[in-house]
């Protein structure tokens, strides 16, 4: 194995319970996003585009889809002999195995993996967020600040601050205080859960943390506060740009609608920062003479005979004549019959919706969610 300056450990075990039906058979990072991608594609593409060529992906909940999605990493250019992407499920010893206790424990259990690359820095990220970020700039910042740990931060509305790890920093961006989900947040600089550590420092803290029976073995709750208490040099790295946790049905739907804005905050068309995905090898989509498509994203392999407005169609979606899709997210290979109406909904992959079905309504405040591989007939339409 070869020495690497910086390797990434990507936490991808999230259950995403609040995504309901969508995460029954998938871990949250494997949920479809943006007409073409899965959530984890954004983080993997960030690694690839940032020149980080060694990524350990830590899975545990429903790892099969993630495993076969990641494969040998070709789509993200991570199919490399020295490094590349390695899927790291929890380890089973002769006397059994169990899930990672917390984010820090997940890294701890893979010390051996990290050490074979003898890295100077370890980047810890999660596969739960939609954003584009050049980690190499954060690493430059980390080096320039001679920090032992750096945390990427973003300004959030103060009323939402209590959902995040909130930091106070001095004028040199050194972190002076860190509170995990404070009830009364002092400011609005939230941790994005993206860390760069000097590996020797992280290593010693992981070993200490494991020895502490009271620890929940979590970065935000245990490791970061302890490092700060003990006076480690910690720096905040300010991120500006689109960053979204798509952890609920509403936020997943909203994030899709964000892509349909006049000038979306998240630009997926930048040639220098492509978002890579597994390619389904589909032909260009066909828009029939009877169709009307506006303010929408449509992927390859679709056949559209009806009206699609302000919606996102993933690959292989069929929309029958007379159907009207509005403010909806239609995941891969959904087949929609004729004269179907869909408003403000997310339809899971592989679902079949037969003629004349009506899903959602223009004035419903809620997003309707239909699961994967479902079969929806007019009689059994779920309402919110």
């Amino acid at each position: 194995m070869f020495k690497k300056e910086c390797i990434a450990m990507l936490l991808a075990g999230g259950e995403g319970r609040r995504l309901g039906l969508l995460t029954q058979r998938l871990a949250k990072p494997a949920v479809h996003f943006g007409g073409k991608y899965r959530i984890i594609d954004f983080t993997l593409s960030n690694c690839s585009n940032s020149g980080i060529d060694t990524v350990g992906v830590l899975t545990q909940y429903q790892p099969l889809v993630l495993n076969s999605h990641i494969g040998i990493g070709s789509p993200w250019d991570l199919d490399q002999k020295n490094g590349g992407v390695t899927v790291l499920p929890p380890f089973v010893e002769q006397n059994g195995g169990r899930w990672y206790k917390g984010t820090a424990n997940a890294i701890y259990q893979n010390l051996n993996f990290i050490e074979q690359y003898d890295p100077q820095y370890v980047l810890v990220i999660s596969g739960d967020h939609i954003y584009k970020m050049d980690y190499s700039l954060m690493l430059e910042h980390h080096k320039a600040q001679q920090a032992e740990a750096s945390i990427a931060v973003i300004e959030v509305p103060i009323q939402e601050a209590s959902r995040f790890g909130i930091m106070s920093v001095d004028e040199e961006l050194r972190i002076t205080e860190f509170e995990e989900k404070p009830k009364h947040p002092k400011n609005n600089l939230a941790s994005m859960g993206i860390y760069i550590f000097n590996w020797d420092v992280l290593r010693s803290y992981l070993l200490l943390d494991e020895q502490n029976p009271d620890s929940s073995n979590d970065f935000g709750k245990d490791v970061i506060p302890r490092m700060l208490r003990e006076g480690r040099r910690m720096s905040a790295y300010r991120f500006q740009g689109y960053w979204k946790d798509v952890g609920t049905v509403e936020s997943l739907w909203e994030a899709h609608m964000d892509l349909l804005a006049e000038k979306p905050e998240l630009d997926m068309y930048e040639p220098e920062w492509k978002i890579y995905a597994v390619n389904p090898n589909q032909p260009p989509h066909y828009i029939a003479p009877t169709a009307r498509v506006q303010r929408s994203l449509v992927n390859e392999g679709c056949l559209v005979y009806g009206t699609v407005e302000h919606s996102v169609l993933f690959y292989g979606v069929h929309v029958g004549a007379g159907s009207h899709i509005q403010d909806a997210v239609i995941m891969p290979n959904v087949k929609i019959g004729r004269n179907v109406t869909i408003h403000k909904a997310i339809i899971g992959a592989g679902t079949i919706i037969t003629d004349d079905a009506v899903i959602g309504s223009p004035d419903s405040p809620d997003v309707i969610l239909i699961g994967e591989n479902d079969y929806i007939q007019p009689a059994i339409i779920p309402h919110s």
Binding site: G34, G35, K36, S74, P75, M268, Y269, K274, I275, Y276, A277, N279, N281, Q282, P283, P284, H285, Y286, I287, A288, P289, T290, A291, R292, V293, Q294, R295, S296, L297, V298, N299, E300, L303, V312, L313, F314
Partner: protein, 370 residues
């Protein structure tokens, strides 16, 4: 998996498509909004499990080689086997040697491999064919040679320059005829054959010393009666891309969903070089009907009866009708395009009006700025 090597024979008999082949070989001509012609035969071969494909190139192969790369997109980037791109051969006095010379120069490749059969195909017959079924027919019939044909009607299709087969009731080929088109139905040879490696090697060795250079015309067609030649009928969609007019017509045929489905999905998918483009985005003002749109397109204008390749930008107020717009073209506001083919990366300025004839589209070459 079939016991066969694939040969994509571009050394000879490749139709030229005027502007589209000035700077590339026919096999590298973009087609179907996303593909190059060679993708179809190459995908057909790997889809039936062929693990070794040799491409006989002609002289204009840089863009083809860029497209194929190491063969990774087709799973052919292998240590042993995989994709072999063989350069054009010249006979000692410097003149072009034809495909027979290319076979002769690479006989070693055939002799060393353990596969028993060779599938030889051109790239300008666009189709989605199950070669395993052809192989089964070949082996079952005990033939020396199997020729693949499609039944086409000369009244509805342009069959100029076709070779037709005369097939007996026993399914054996009695004759092959050059440009001999009957009224009504014709069995058009698809420039695809299966031959046993042994026979091929033997033919090449014997013919090359006689200064023949065209395997099909000089050897196969003249000696049909010597062998058991089996005919295999293909029934899916076939596009014969042998002129700009046919290129245009066959492209437009894909706007019928049954053809789209037949060519791209049945029996298997077609692979091409991945470009990692985001889904196409339609603005508030997009008006698109009866069109094929690839990923990476940004559509703000009107598109009718047209094909947009990957990464095309159509600005607000632009109108595109009955046209083929290749990769990364940009059509600025209020431009009007009708019956045109824009090669890659053409830039059409604000308000420009381009119009071709209904059956003879106007072609604008790569990177033009209009």
């Amino acid at each position: 998996m079939p016991n066969a090597i694939g040969v994509i024979n571009l050394a000879i008999n490749q139709p030229l498509l005027h502007e589209l082949t000035y700077s590339r070989s026919t096999a590298a001509v973009p087609f179907g909004g996303r593909y190059r012609l060679i993708d179809f035969v190459l995908s057909n071969m790997v889809n039936c499990g062929v693990k070794k494909v040799a491409v006989f190139t002609n002289n204009n192969s840089r863009s083809l080689m860029d497209h194929l790369g190491s063969g990774k997109e087709w799973g052919l980037d292998r240590k042993q086997g995989g994709l072999f791109i063989l350069p054009p051969s010249t006979i000692p006095n410097g003149t072009f040697g034809g495909d027979l010379q290319q076979f002769a120069a690479n006989l070693d490749y055939f002799l060393r491999s353990k596969e028993k059969y060779v599938i030889i195909s051109s790239s300008h017959m666009v189709c989605n064919i199950d070669f395993s079924d052809v192989m089964r027919s070949h082996v079952r019939s005990g033939a020396d040679l199997t020729l693949i044909y499609k039944e086409l009607n000369s009244q509805t299709e342009d069959l100029s320059d076709s070779i037709t087969l005369d097939v007996g009731l026993n399914g054996r080929v009695r004759a092959m005829r050059d440009s001999h088109i009957e009224q009504g139905s014709n069995k058009v040879y698809m420039r695809m054959m299966v031959i046993s490696k042994e026979l091929l090697v033997d033919l090449v060795k014997r013919s090359v010393s006689q200064n023949y250079y065209d395997l099909l015309r000089h050897v196969i067609m003249r000696n049909l009666d010597r062998w058991h030649v089996n005919a295999y009928e293909y029934k899916g969609y076939l596009g014969i891309i042998n002129s700009i007019t046919n290129y245009y017509r066959n492209s437009m045929n894909l706007l019928k969903p049954e053809n789209w489905h037949s060519l791209f999905f049945c029996p298997s998918v077609i692979y091409t070089k991945v470009k990692d483009e985001a889904p196409a985005i339609y603005s508030e003002h997009a008006r698109v009907t009866n069109s094929l749109i690839a990923n990476g397109c940004i559509v703000e204008g009107t598109v009718e009866n047209s094909i947009l390749f990957r990464g095309v930008k159509v600005h607000r107020g632009a109108i595109i009708r009955n046209s083929i717009i290749m990769q990364k073209c940009e059509i600025e506001a209020s431009a009007i395009l009708e019956n045109v083919i824009l090669d890659k990366e053409v830039h059409v300025s604000v308000g420009t009006w381009l119009e071709g004839e209904k059956l003879v589209p106007a072609v604008y070459s790569k990177k033009s700025v209009i």
